[in-house]
């Protein structure tokens, strides 16, 4: 049991952090998720991959936490920096993705995280989020599009290094 929890700890916590953007909330949701996984392990369909099933439980826990947060109207200090912070340098491109994620719609963000961080397939994401595969493809496409737009407006262009795509278009 310990080995199972240790293996699942990182992806579950990572998903919770990305979805909730709050350390304490994420740890609580991760704990709840892992407890549920352990208690309901007998209900897992062994013919399917374990991780999507675990992440589906985690995503549900995160949604519940988000609903709880919005019901309470609680102001939380989110992990991401403010969007109007100074433009990032190229070395901070990874952090800029985190900032962009914070501005995405919840569905797009979940889809993006499951695809790029958890490396789930479109089919697995559709199982986790309980939506059709076509919806997942649409959400992923829009998430990528908005992410790219955010990065461009933050100073990252075609060849990187802070070169703005818009500036390039205007000058070119």
């Amino acid at each position: 049991m310990r080995e199972l929890v240790e293996r699942l700890e990182r992806p579950v916590l990572a998903l919770c952090l990305r979805m909730l953007r709050h350390r304490q909330d994420a740890e609580d949701a991760a704990q709840e998720s892992l407890v549920r996984v352990c208690k309901h392990l007998a209900t897992w369909d062994g013919s399917r991959s374990l991780l999507p099933w675990v992440l589906a439980i985690t995503a549900n826990r995160c949604r519940t936490a988000l609903e709880r947060r919005s019901r309470r109207g609680r102001t939380v200090e989110l992990l991401e920096e403010e969007a109007d912070s100074p433009p990032a340098m190229d070395g901070e491109l990874g952090e800029e993705v985190s900032r962009a994620l914070a501005q995405l719609r919840e569905e797009y963000r979940h889809c993006f995280i499951l695809f790029y961080e958890q490396e789930l397939s479109v089919q697995e994401i559709s199982q986790v989020l309980q939506v059709p595969e076509g919806t997942v493809k649409t959400w992923l496409h829009r998430a990528r599009k908005q992410m790219a737009e955010h990065l461009r407006t933050r100073g990252y262009g075609r060849s990187g290094g802070g070169e703005s795509w818009h500036t390039e278009q205007l000058s070119g």
Partner: protein
């Protein structure tokens, strides 16, 4: 490859993580003069680089998360029943034994002369001065000694001595057992831990002994006769 094919192929390659398909699309993406194709390809390049850096960032570490989950999932280790019950049983048994010893001592102290009489009767083979009527009525050890005043053989003497002591021990034991049965269940079955503490136990022992105090005196009188004055 047309621009429409390129854009559809790019979307599909991204969704299926098909690196070979992306490599095939690279030529068109880099050379096409259509703004849409160029932009789609540039976005793909930018996102690939950004996501790689994002994924390489610090990984979350759940401090104590595993232990917290296991504490909630796994049942706590139960203490050994024998070890858990031992201290309670220990003081209960000690209290019972102490009460029994105290009662035996009380009996001997309250009627020292009678005790001496019994011992004397046993040693002399029934020459002790004990009331015959009392002895006949009770069948006490003293009575056994008195019942055969004329017996002088060693065998009869030995039988009289051993019979007297065995009878005394049996009567004393059964009395103490009866008294303990009367008192002990109250202390042992009491679910209230505070009420079952030794001080309460002894208090209750006194309360329970009080009603039978007369009975104790009568029993002692039967065994040893009236106290010497």
């Amino acid at each position: 490859m047309t621009c429409a094919e390129f854009q559809a192929g790019l979307q599909s390659a991204i969704e299926t993580r098909d690196a070979a398909a992306l490599a095939r699309l690279a030529e068109h993406g880099e050379q096409c003069r259509q703004a849409e194709c160029r932009r789609a390809w540039e976005d793909e390049q930018l996102l690939r680089r950004a996501i790689a850096l994002w994924r390489a960032g610090p990984k979350p570490v759940g401090g104590g998360l595993v232990d917290a989950v296991l504490r909630e999932v796994l049942p706590p280790p139960a203490p050994s029943p024998a070890i858990a019950a031992r201290p309670q049983r220990s003081w209960q048994a000690g209290s019972i034994l102490g009460a029994a010893v105290a009662l035996l001592l009380a009996m001997l102290v309250l009627a020292p002369d009678a005790g001496r009489t019994v011992r004397l009767a046993g040693r002399t083979g029934g020459t002790a001065e004990a009331p015959a009527a009392h002895s006949e009525a009770t069948g006490s050890p003293a009575g056994i000694a008195d019942a055969a005043p004329q017996q002088t053989s060693a065998a009869v003497d030995a039988a009289g001595i051993s019979g007297a002591y065995v009878g005394l021990a049996q009567d004393a034991t059964s009395f103490v057992t009866d008294l303990a049965m009367l008192v002990v269940p109250v202390a042992v079955d009491d679910p209230d831990e505070e009420a079952a503490t030794p001080s309460h136990w002894f208090q209750r022992l006194g309360e329970h002994i009080e009603p039978v105090q007369d009975g104790v005196k009568n029993k002692l009188g039967e065994w040893f006769g009236p106290p010497a004055t």
